[in-house]
């Protein structure tokens, strides 16, 4: 099969940038605690629908940008997001056949994993204080998934 499919690299770049902005936009305290990881959501989308557009490198770089932005330990978000991307990529063929609602269960699990990795690294690197509300983020993220997927779906033509 020699059909060189065009990878939506620019779409990946811009949507990840948008997600990054949404992630760090200053919000009131109560809202920012429960803000889901938009970067992880968008990365999951591209891992399922265009796994070769960014590979593991794009998720890793997006996570690293988030680390620098938020002043966290370098590469903590990078590791979490690339782990999520890897799992989504290895299951992408099964996930593509599911409905958005079915997918959001998977997304919930992935966002929880993402949050857990970040939480574990924070604990290891000595940030003792944390809010229990952070475990609400994956739930909200899973509920937002259909909208994110529909919006991101408009940026490229699916084959």
């Amino acid at each position: 099969m020699n059909l060189a499919r065009r990878e939506p690299r620019w779409a990946v770049f811009f949507t990840v940038l948008l997600a990054l902005i949404a992630q760090v936009l200053p919000l009131p305290d109560w809202l920012s605690v429960v803000r889901p990881s938009f970067v992880a959501l968008v990365i999951i989308y591209w891992s399922i629908y265009a796994p070769h557009a960014g590979g593991i490198f794009a998720p890793w770089l997006a996570g690293l940008a988030l680390d620098v932005f938020k002043g966290d330990v370098l590469a903590q978000n990078a590791l979490a997001v690339s782990l999520v991307a890897y799992i989504a990529m290895s299951l992408h063929q099964r996930l593509r056949n599911q409905t958005l609602v079915q997918q959001s269960l998977f997304v919930f699990a992935m966002l929880t994993l993402n949050e857990f990795v970040v939480f574990a690294i924070e604990g290891w690197s000595g940030h003792a204080i944390s809010s229990p509300w952070r475990w609400l983020q994956p739930m909200i993220g899973a509920m937002l998934w259909p909208f994110v997927a529909l919006l991101a779906g408009r940026t490229h033509s699916r084959v």
């Binding site: 593991i56 330990v73 590791l79 990529m89």
Partner: protein
């Protein structure tokens, strides 16, 4: 049929190594980065560069609030400006009176110290920075300011406002720097009570209106309303900058230490400008090492304090919230 695992992900066919292998490589790189980032060292240079790369995005993200304050400023009415001007003139007059007295006091102080001339001000140089973004949560109390390495800002530099100590530089980039406020839960500041000379440590609580002083024995002289200034210990802040005012002193019969709370004087609610300061080296009020003060004040440092005192960087402290 989709086969899951390494072969299933290779639909492209011959597009390089499998996702599993690539993920493994990135994971290893991540762990190494985390390890060296915690240790500090050469990664600081990398961070410096990364801060520059991310700075435009930071500006973009905070442009809505900046635009709003610009709009607000542009559309203030003439009357409002005039009232503000009158208030500022009044303030200036009061300050001038204080300064007039201060010149005389400094002269007197010099005579008492046996010096020929009054000492110059301990603050040698200052730089005004504008706040780009504010993060005030119970996890973090940080500011992003538009002055960085290219303006001469250095790590652990004291940052103040007109009212008192605000914080210190935590991380620098070429054009911006991150400031950790004294109210951050990971910040500890050596302070002194002006009235009684008691020295202790003020810890941040994660709330922007509160500091706590957990290492003061009950029989020490600290009262509500006392002014706390920097003690000059800790090698970060020069002596005598106002920090906070004591609001609550709680004594419990079962506990050897008092529970003292204070309200920081500096805030960024009023204006979005902060001052980076450079102190004059070799000035008596410049930052001192704890060893230099051992003879001078043996009784004021409580037993738990010396371990905490030589804090050049913000220390992580055990959370002792009730």
């Amino acid at each position: 049929m989709a086969v899951f695992g390494t072969s299933g992900s290779r639909i492209g066919g011959g597009r390089g190594p499998s996702f599993g292998f690539r993920f493994f490589c990135y994971a290893v790189v991540s762990v190494v980065l985390m390890f060296y980032d915690r240790r500090g060292g050469f990664l600081d240079t990398a961070r410096y560069g990364l801060q520059a790369a991310i700075y435009p995005l930071q500006l973009a993200v905070n442009s809505p609030s900046a635009a709003w304050s610009w709009l607000e400023e542009s559309f203030t009415t003439r009357e409002k400006l005039q009232t503000e001007l009158a208030a500022l003139r009044d303030q200036l007059r009061t300050q001038q009176l204080v300064t007039l007295r201060q010149a005389a006091l400094e002269r007197e102080n010099a005579t008492l110290r046996g010096l020929n001339a009054a000492l110059p001000e301990v603050i040698d140089r200052r730089l005004i920075g504008e706040v780009i973004s504010v993060e005030l949560s119970n996890l973090r109390q940080r500011l992003l300011v538009n002055r960085g390495g290219t303006h001469g800002v250095y790590r652990s530099q004291p940052v103040i406002t007109g009212d008192g100590v605000l914080g210190q530089v935590f991380r620098i980039g070429p054009f911006s720097s991150e400031i950790i406020l004294i109210t951050d839960a990971e910040h500890a500041l050596p302070v002194q009570v002006v009235r009684s000379g008691v020295r202790t440590i003020a810890l941040g609580t994660g709330r922007s209106t509160s500091l706590e002083l957990p290492y003061v024995p009950k029989n020490y002289d600290v009262k509500v309303g006392d002014l706390l200034v920097t003690s000059g210990l800790g090698k970060v802040f020069p002596f005598g900058l106002p920090v906070a005012r004591v609001t609550k002193v709680e004594l419990f019969p079962a506990e050897p230490l008092a529970r003292i709370h204070a309200v920081p004087l500096a805030g960024i609610e009023n204006d979005r400008e902060v001052l980076f300061i450079w102190e004059r080296a070799a000035h008596p009020a410049a930052t001192a090492t704890p060893e230099a003060l051992v003879i001078e004040a043996p009784a004021t440092a409580p037993a738990t304090a010396p371990a905490k005192t030589p804090t050049t960087t913000p220390v992580k402290t055990p959370v002792s919230t009730p």
